[in-house]
Symmetry: C2
């Protein structure tokens, strides 16, 4: 395949890269779909969170993420733990058991050595908790003012042990949509650290490895699709799945767990928790017949797991949300970005 000579993103409309091109909304999806996927054509094995590869008869998953979160330390984690959780979760979402990670630093000249050491220790702790081993790495240093303390890339390899395909194209009409816990914590934790906001009690990031609940689900039930709720939050994740599956998702607003303090912070800040990033939450699409058993299992891992909706036979590929008065509205992709650099 040859690259097109003309850039699929019109320079006149978008002469420069904007923060929103990394924000999880429409512009980011345009950049990825129209420029990157169109050029590299990773299909048919490409999936949202990781690629699935067959090497010498074995099915592997392979994923990468760079982490640019600011500030480097926030309630409930730091860039180091986040860089492990984010990448092992991407492997888990592809239905893989995470095995090996690479670790690459871009450090800014002048970074306190002690900061680096704290991050390195968090990385090792998080890797142990996520049952992965860091096996290869790289370190680069950029001049003062050309970076922002620490950027981290982790890439990961996992093994696909089950037979089915976990992804939007396995989603079926009637599937239950189960959310693994309350939403909005990570984004609000980052924002409060960044802006020096204080609440009654500290809102901690939900950043955590999702390997254990996911592997349990995969062993016991025919899971159709998994997706962690990172940039763009629940709303963006579900819109991506609806679009890829060409089916519509109906949600019950009242069923979506948002902690009181997170809800309060969102109201003060004018933010919608449905679009806020999480780093330890996911949605599972499972057959309706398995929904209550899957829910029981997920509630063992997190008490606030809930069935939040289901898939309907409507090829408009929308996400619809019903409020307490039973009126429905479209829950759309975010146009720009809500919070930059949350991961």
């Amino acid at each position: 395949m040859q690259s097109a000579v003309t850039c699929p993103i019109p320079f006149q409309q978008y002469p420069q890269v904007l923060l929103a091109h990394g924000g999880g909304g429409r512009l980011m999806h345009q950049l990825i779909e129209d420029m990157l996927l169109a050029t590299f054509q990773p299909e048919p094995d490409w999936q949202h969170d990781a690629a699935s590869l067959t090497m010498a008869g074995n099915r592997l998953a392979f994923t990468t993420d760079s982490y640019v979160v600011t500030p480097l330390f926030f309630p409930g984690g730091n860039i180091g733990s986040l860089a492990i959780h984010g990448t092992v979760n991407d492997l888990a979402m592809a239905g893989a058991r995470p095995c090996y990670l690479s670790l690459s630093f871009i450090l800014e000249e002048g970074l306190p050595m002690e900061t680096l050491w704290q991050v390195v220790q968090s990385i090792q702790t998080a890797a142990q908790q996520s049952h992965v081993k860091i096996v290869t790495g790289d370190t680069k240093v950029v001049d003062r003012g050309k970076g922002d303390g620490i950027f981290i890339n982790t890439s990961g390899i996992g093994v696909l042990e089950h037979r089915g395909f976990i992804g939007p194209r396995s989603v079926q009409v009637g599937d239950a949509v189960i959310l693994s816990g309350d939403i909005g914590r990570h984004g609000i934790a980052i924002l409060s650290a960044r802006e020096g906001l204080t609440f009654e009690t500290t809102i901690e990031s939900d950043s955590a490895p999702l390997v254990d609940p996911v592997l349990e689900l995969l062993q016991r039930w025919p899971v159709h699709c998994l997706r962690d709720l990172t940039r763009g939050g629940l709303a963006s994740a579900l819109n991506e799945i609806a679009l890829a599956a060409r089916l519509t998702i109906e949600l019950e607003s009242a069923a979506i767990p948002v902690e009181g303090q997170v809800q309060g912070a969102c109201e003060i800040l004018g933010l919608d928790p449905l679009y806020i990033a999480n780093e330890g939450r996911f949605v599972a699409f499972v057959p309706a017949s398995a929904a209550s058993d899957v829910l029981d299992c997920l509630q063992q891992h997190h008490a606030q797991a809930q069935i939040i909706g289901h898939v309907v036979d409507d090829q408009r590929a929308l996400v619809m949300i019903k409020n307490a008065l039973s009126s429905q509205r479209i829950l759309d992709f975010l146009s720009g970005e809500q919070l930059p650099r949350i991961c």
Copy 2:
């Protein structure tokens, strides 16, 4: 294994990260060995350029590199082609056939979209020439002034098809050291682009994929060790190997090919080509009996390939270089760094 509580790098001596911590010399090795390898303990499978993994009975190689080269475009390449060549070469140096790459961007807000598009096209061309497929990716955007245009991470997976271990611990007394071509081009190309230096003809980077010559060597001869000559150049690569192999390497200065213009530029700039980075050159350690056949093969790929020295039974683990008058001197590790951000 638990992380030590005390940082192995003394904060009093090194309170901050310096550019030299990424420069390929002593400080970088101290950071990697004492802090990172000591914490993550990737042994016994860890190798310099890539980790070798056994997954479901298959031997794979896994590697990662972040690219922060400045300027983004230079004679003979750009950050995109470099990010492919560097990573496929790391896999090749571990004796692996490169298969799949991940691609992760950290873009600075305000980057011209056209620049990104040029880099993306170079990446795709270089991937095709290197026989690898980009299968997964990530895009982050950082605020203006918190990055430097484009940083790229590529991680790669390859298949180890041969039986032997390719690395310093396979190096034996008597091995010939064969250099795959002339040295110093990449560093001088970067430096001249950065400083606006002009020479009679443009010195182009040697950046290129090394997959084809390496796979040919591996199929035909019992190769003991391979190493590409990136940060820190030939001198650093050989010092690392000598140290890891606990053997001494003797070089013939006159045998090391340096192009006249590169030599001239080095003299003007006060640089030693032995420490200048390359991105398309490697050394192979092979049994003396195979040396002339290997040389013939490598000269098919690059006319300036040369046998530049051999391994001697001297456990001081030094690199010695003999000049035209047959006097020998120690060719040491570089203490700081010669050229920052050349890859």
